[in-house]
């Protein structure tokens, strides 16, 4: 299989050896069953060792994997009747964000998400999933529409960040992001956010103010990319691996910091290895979140969201500091 990562090589090689032995057995009379069984047991152990114990940098690589499933792929598996809506009604249609209406187990919802391309051509069209202000404004328009028709909102987060470009600044990238944070806080319908790939800074957060934030096991959420952090902190972007650890950007890290609600398990080796199965894992959490939120009245829903963000942060009042000069 293409796109194997360096750290999973031992698994890949062992798997290859097993299939070679099986092939050999098919063509000869030699019985290698016990040998194969032994290797398969070893493979399982090795998989658990490697995939069950992934380092932050390995997760970063999986989160960025070119084959990693995108928003539209999950939409097609999780929902029916998806109807994509375009444009912010003011400037244009930013294809780095997709959104529309659909049904989730028969229930009407609005879905929005960042959208990367699967190849170079599509990536250029979608600006590598890095939105301009009109993308955020399209998302906001669709969220307001959802509120009007009392539809819950599901948002998929998957971006390296908001696009750092001249036109983006001219059209108010800051304001577009800020406006979404502000308006999402007040949406009178359930909002569920799922980080499916990279959650890059303010550009990710702009679709990320909800009642629940979940992360796929190998997704990341960070204030800056590991490369950017390394360049900024140690003036050396080659220290990205170290930065990935220091900056605490993995799903378990964010769970530990009290930011996210659930870690959604991934299939062994990453979501791209089995899209169907991965969608089932997400489906399960979404059903759970939806059923918890649907019973809340509007006020409780808004208070829950308020308290969720109010809690985030670490500070103290050490009295001995008073008067310290």
């Amino acid at each position: 299989m293409a796109g194997e990562l360096e750290f999973e090589k031992p698994v890949v090689e062992l798997r290859k050896k097993i299939s070679e032995l099986k092939e050999y057995m098919k063509n000869t009379d030699v019985d290698l069953t016990s040998e194969i069984d032994k290797l398969e047991a070893r493979l399982q152990k090795l998989e658990t060792e490697i995939y069950g114990n992934m380092k932050p940098w390995e997760r970063v690589q999986i989160a960025r994997h070119p084959n990693r499933p995108t928003t539209l792929e999950y939409i097609s598996l999780l929902f029916t009747d998806f109807f994509e809506c375009h444009g912010d009604r003011t400037f244009g249609d930013d294809e780095a964000i997709v959104g529309g209406i659909a049904k989730f187990h028969g229930y009407p919802i609005t879905v929005i998400g960042h959208q990367r391309g699967k190849d170079t051509k599509e990536n250029i069209r979608r600006n590598f999933g890095m939105p301009h202000p009109e993308g955020y404004r399209k998302a906001l328009r669709l969220m307001k529409q959802a509120e009007k028709f009392r539809r819950p909102i599901i948002s998929f987060i998957d971006t390296k960040g908001a696009y750092p470009g001249k036109a983006a600044e001219e059209r108010g990238q800051s304001e577009a992001i800020a406006r979404n944070l502000f308006e999402m806080a007040g949406l009178r319908v359930p909002v569920i956010c799922v980080v499916i790939g990279e959650g890059g800074s303010g550009g990710a957060l702009a679709l990320g103010v909800g009642n629940y934030i979940h992360m796929l096991e190998n997704s990341t959420y960070s204030v800056i990319s590991p490369e950017g952090a390394a360049a900024l902190l140690w003036k050396d972007s080659s220290l990205a691996k170290k930065a990935a650890e220091t900056m605490k950007i993995t799903a378990p890290d964010l769970k530990g910091l009290g930011i996210i609600d659930e870690i959604i398990p991934e299939v062994k080796g990453g979501a791209h290895k089995d899209l169907q199965q991965q969608a089932k894992y997400i489906d399960k959490i979404l059903i759970d979140s939806m059923s918890k939120l649907q019973v809340l009245d509007e006020e409780t829903l808004l208070n829950q969201r308020y308290e969720k963000y109010k809690r985030i942060g670490e500070f103290s009042f050490p009295t001995e500091r008073i008067g310290v000069k």
Binding site: P164, K166, E169, E175, Y221, T246, I312, R321
Partner: protein, 294 residues
């Protein structure tokens, strides 16, 4: 009258005591003369300070620290600080972070990059948050987010306006994603306050970039900026690297944002108190309607 207050605070014991910071000294050396970095005119430091640290020749706005802002913007001795003792933890166990904080505490006499409290502007009461770029470049960590959120909640509780002066390089890297989440936290608080009818005034001062620009700084009912202030989401160098073209000189300045429709007005610091007070006046809860002869 304002100018009087400004000088008076120098001799009278201040309710809000601060140690003159080293960074502030760099901005305006404690010497008799100060050179304007923009027009190169040599100015009397005393006169410059009387003029709110605005160059009398070219109107270049020297950076202010939070104490100077409080003294120049709020009514004399009206400021009551909130959460002064709140300090940051080291949530990521980031190497050297505590030492850096300690250094800046010593350097600035502040515990964090924002000072919050209640004060009056020409008699109008408001909750105020003043960011100070001399502390960790005004970057936003947990304490900055929490203090601003509490100031917004205080404004909500007392039904008074919320005014923020921003000055920030963006996120506090050493607090990682917790820093990012402060954008959401403050915005969520502003939304609730706004839904209760609260008035939000944002004044962006040099520099206001990154996560601060992309959250509360841009969420005022009125968004203002001081002349020449750098305001933007992405850094100039990153944009130039991305689009491989040189950006115009005035890119991401207050004047540029005004032209792009991102600001209500650019206000000189000399007029700041007067103009904001006028806005506060218009938003006072009205009595019965009475026609006034102009």
């Amino acid at each position: 009258m304002l100018k009087e207050l400004f000088t008076k605070t120098k001799t009278k014991p201040k309710k809000y005591a601060t140690i003159p910071s080293k960074a502030a000294k760099q901005d305006v050396p404690e010497g008799i003369m100060t050179k304007c970095p923009n027009c190169k005119k040599i100015l009397y430091t005393k006169e410059l300070n009387k003029n709110y640290k605005v160059c009398t020749q070219c109107e270049y706005h020297f950076q202010m620290n939070s104490a100077e802002r409080i003294n120049s913007f709020l009514d004399f001795e009206s400021f009551r600080e909130l959460d002064r003792e709140m300090v940051s933890g080291n949530p990521l166990d980031f190497p050297g972070y505590e030492e850096k904080l300690e250094q800046d505490r010593k350097k600035t006499g502040l515990n964090e990059a924002v000072v919050t409290g209640i004060g009056t502007v020409k008699g109008y009461e408001a909750a105020i948050a003043i960011m100070d770029a001399h502390f960790r470049m005004g970057s936003m960590g947990s304490v900055v987010g929490e203090k601003i959120t509490r100031a917004i909640e205080k404004a909500d509780e007392l039904s008074i306006p919320f005014i923020i002066f921003t000055a920030s390089g963006g996120a506090r890297m050493q607090e990682g994603v917790l820093s990012l989440m402060q954008m959401a936290k403050t915005s969520v608080a502003l939304k609730r306050f706004s839904d209760h009818g609260g008035l939000i005034i944002s004044v962006m001062t040099h520099p206001t970039t990154g996560g601060v620009s992309a959250s509360f700084a841009s969420l005022g009912d009125y968004n203002f900026a001081e002349p020449g202030a750098l305001i933007g989401f992405a850094g100039r160098r990153i944009i130039e690297q991305t689009i491989r073209e040189e950006l115009p000189e005035d890119f991401q300045t207050a004047e540029f944002l005004l032209k792009q429709g991102q600001l209500d007005a650019v206000i000189s610091r000399v007029d700041m108190k007067e103009k904001i007070a006028a806005i506060l006046d218009i938003h006072q809860p009205g009595g019965t309607f009475e026609w006034q002869e102009n």
